[in-house]
Amino acid sequence: MTVTEEAPGHVGSRRLRKEDPALLTGEAKFIDDLALPGAIWVGVVRSTEAHAHIVGIDGSAALAIDGVNEVLSGEDLAPLWGEGALPCAWPVTPDMKSPAHLPVARGTAKYVGDAVAVVLADSRYAAADGAAAVVVDYEPLPAVVEIEDAVADGAPLVHADLDSNECYTWGLWGDNAPAIDAAFAEAAHVVSERYLQQRLIPAPMEPRGCAAVPSPAGGELTLYSATQIPHILKVMTAVVLGIGENKLRVVAPSVGGGFGCKLNVYAEEILCSALAMQRGAPVRWTEGRAEAAVSTIQGRGQVQHIELAADADGKVTAVRVKLLADMGAYLQLVTPGVPLLGGFLYHGCYDIPNYMFECTSVFTNRTPTDAYRGAGRPEATYAVERAMDSLAVSVGVSPEEIRARNFIGADAFPYESAAGLIFDSGDYQAVLDKAVALADVDGRRAEQAQRRASGSSKRIGVGFSSYVEMCGLAPSRVLASLDYGAGGWEAATVRISPTCKVQVVTGSTPHGQGHETCWSMIVADQLGVDPDDVEVLHSDTAVSPTGLDTYGSRSLAVGGTAVYMATEKVIDKARAIAAHQLEASEDDLEFSGGVFRVRGTPDAEVPLAGIAFAAFTAHDLPDGMEPNLEAHVTYDPPNFTFPNGTHIAVVEVDTDTGNVDLVDYVAVDDCGVQINPLVVEGQVHGGILQGAAQALYEDAVYNSDGQLVSANLADYLVPSAAEAPRFRLDSHATPSPTNPMGVKGVGEAGTIAAAPAVINAVVDALRDLGVTDVDMPASPQTVWKAIADAQGGAS
């Protein structure tokens, strides 16, 4: 038997990203880089009132500006879409209230930022000048700003045609209510907490933008958009505007981040498309940063009530959760579903037999909310992880001990949760043990005790967060049971050219993640080719017509699996050709390092390159076989995947000023098999900082009139690298049995884990001063006042 040297595998290596040279040198083309001579520029006039009748729109001053050509109101534009509304694809209950949502408002403005008119101009500058010069006469109406006010007696109505501000109530408890009541009645320890999830502004590096370009040959339209979802956007735009889907192409050029906020169908996309077809000219819009704060969806926005019942040992017997969730003024694409994505996970990574979750979602006169990195799961993790720390205090054990007593055991997988999910794999205790050792928790606690004893104003706190999340969205039948308006599959095509270069077409749509690098590494290992010989095409519905796009940490587990399976199909076809050429049975062939060999016959081998060329010439293929090496797969996952981990934050709190320093951060994650640890670490670093940002910095602050007062990046505190803690990462992979590569997903893990770890650390630092809770963001002033309140008044 010939001994052959295996090519070293690429999967698992820290390969530099092939996307980066173009990004770092400015060669990558983003939406605003597109040169479209003769384009009509749109400027959007946005409501400055949270709730008001639009009495009049005076465009005369705008029209006097050189380069401003038209000012159009919602009434003027109505014929473009009639009663057709911006789509909401997730009607979570049959009786959910879904207000008509026009791209440009008619009659009433319902939030600061609501589009009330548009200016058409020759340049972006003229469009901005024109939009600033339009005078709108408003008759203010009472506004509903805070979540709990929306459901108060006598609250003003956000939508006068709906009889309340309640959008829906969705619950998950089945016939379990008596058992839950019994668990609480018999509990030795009951924890009852109320937490606030402040609204967050997604703030990707690139704001939104779009450009609709009609084909000069007539009848066809290309919509370029800074979107995460070109495929879904294409279907939705076609439906809303009544265009044949075959007449529409959607392209996402380089997209500078999304974090969920570009998982949507926005007014400007519909507006530009409709106007471009009407005018027969390109119509484009680029969002400004300050505009983005009010016109792009925001994240979070919940009031959470969580109760835990536990026995004397701290073993949790039931969890009961009631949420109030802020939809904002309108429902965007998946707005109603976001709380549900967390609704299955309020028991965290714990074996809790009784589960009840109920969410009431409400309208307010604020920018719509929707998916933002983690989408429901950071909120759920925050509530359960904060509550577990409270339980630990009640029982009198450490945070790690209360977790250990409640973890789903490593031998329990596949584990059916009380909320009805089947968790795939994990070893939560091993993950926690690794994190405890890495963070030197004992050493930190000794330091904490020493500082307390010496009366130091610099307190140390250690905070835990053990999380499990669901990603790999999703089995289409499960989505159907949740009334989601689409499936959860993903598509891939793999082609091998005559010279053995590989083309991968993926339905996933990267906007910073690194799909091109990772898909190349997967396919290169399967085929025994160089990753640089693998080209990955995506994000253009003309090139990749089938796909369901990138969100919810689904790309690798679903899209990557589709790529893997399509490559396997290509190999199967190549094997048949190889068997034909070598006059051997397929069963006797082995394939490795890009070469087919006949087992036990030293010289009988043929390289993939030879097969590729033979498939192309088609001179000598098995009878009945089609030429060329190409395969397409649409993969519908049988289950979600369940990444998990334990994060430990160490903070130093200055009790004199309330300042919180994140001095150490340890994360041990199980995201399954890692394709590229460098890419994984990048995702985890960014995710942790985004979660820590909710804990310490970011807050979309509205005043009582419904004005967003943190509308710029001086007041809305997105942290920078300077604020990043020292990240110390490790992993503990339990491969997912759900897919052939054993992958799970990692795009949101850091964000899901970080906020409770940081706040638990802050509370741990101050618990001996009587502090039991600190609202997010734990700004210095908030922390200082929490200390002062706990000490019985301002110092």
């Binding site: 300050a290 007062v709 710029n712 604020e723 210095p780 200082w784 301002a794």
Partner: protein, 272 residues
């Protein structure tokens, strides 16, 4: 985030800049580093119709010491203050404060004259120059005049500088005792929520973002002069002040911070 239309003139000299200011009157603004002015223009909080760019007047970029005084050209960048060996020897406080302004991009564009003329009560360097007892040299159509930093600031973004004057030089005393600067903020790049500058071993104390101008903490200075401890002197830091109320801090918390930071700064400056 698109500024209103404006015209742009390049000044070839200080005289030229002043002539352009005189020609365009109140509609004109000097552009130096632009890191305060341009963001305000992008938000349309400032809408000058003419920008007079003085950023190329390299003759006004210098740091000179002599006769117990450090003289600094108005167009000297924060990064140049930060990295100047001469300044580190003659007035280390100013070099140290310059290193805390904004982020590296801001420090490579922003100028000492620009930040003084902008007169933002939340900026670091104006308070440092005030604590140091500095002098600001302004040139106008009729020639130059010297203005004590203590007399320079008059209100939010307002100073005694006339519309047709530009700052050409800033002078601070060389040497001069213990110093410290306490800057309290949430992100490295941000303005101070509260800042405290102590110069001359406590003889000069100023506060950042505690009112409409950089504020000389004369009560603290008097207490130190009278032999008070740092804690005693710091206790009066916020007395009589009406600090602003914003998302980061209300007036009560700002007063508290002023006291805490003043004590820390005095201690670090050698006041027991």
């Amino acid at each position: 985030m698109i500024p209103a239309a404006f015209d742009y003139e390049v000044a070839e000299s200080a005289d030229h800049a002043i002539a352009l200011l005189a020609e365009h009157g109140d509609d004109a603004k000097l552009l130096a580093g632009g890191h305060s002015l341009i963001p305000m223009m992008r938000y349309r909080l400032a809408t000058p119709s003419v920008l007079v760019d003085v950023g190329r007047l390299d003759g006004l970029r210098y740091i000179r010491t002599g006769n117990g005084t450090v003289s600094i050209g108005a167009l000297t960048r924060h990064s140049e203050l930060e990295h100047s060996a001469e300044l580190a020897g003659a007035c280390p406080m100013l070099a140290s404060v310059a290193a805390l302004v904004g982020d590296p991009a801001v420090r490579h564009r922003g100028t000492l004259g620009g930040t003084l003329a902008h007169a933002d009560p939340a900026s670091d360097l104006p308070a440092a120059v005030l604590a140091l007892g500095g002098t600001i040299v302004a040139q106008g159509p009729g020639g130059s005049r010297e203005i004590a930093a203590a007399d320079f600031f008059t209100g939010y973004f307002e100073s005694v500088l006339a519309a047709d004057e530009m700052i050409t030089e800033v002078r601070v005393p060389a040497g001069g005792g213990g110093w410290n600067y306490q800057k309290f903020n949430r992100r490295a790049q941000d303005w101070a929520i509260v800042g405290v500058a102590v110069a001359g071993g406590g003889s000069g104390v100023s506060l950042v973002n505690m009112g409409s101008t950089p504020i000389r903490a004369s009560g603290v200075e008097a207490a130190v002069a009278g032999g008070a401890s740092a804690a005693e002197a710091a206790a009066v830091a916020a007395d009589g002040l009406e600090p602003p109320d914003d998302l980061n801090a209300d007036a009560e918390y700002r007063g508290h911070l002023a006291r805490v930071l003043t004590e820390r700064a005095l201690n670090a400056a050698g006041v027991a």
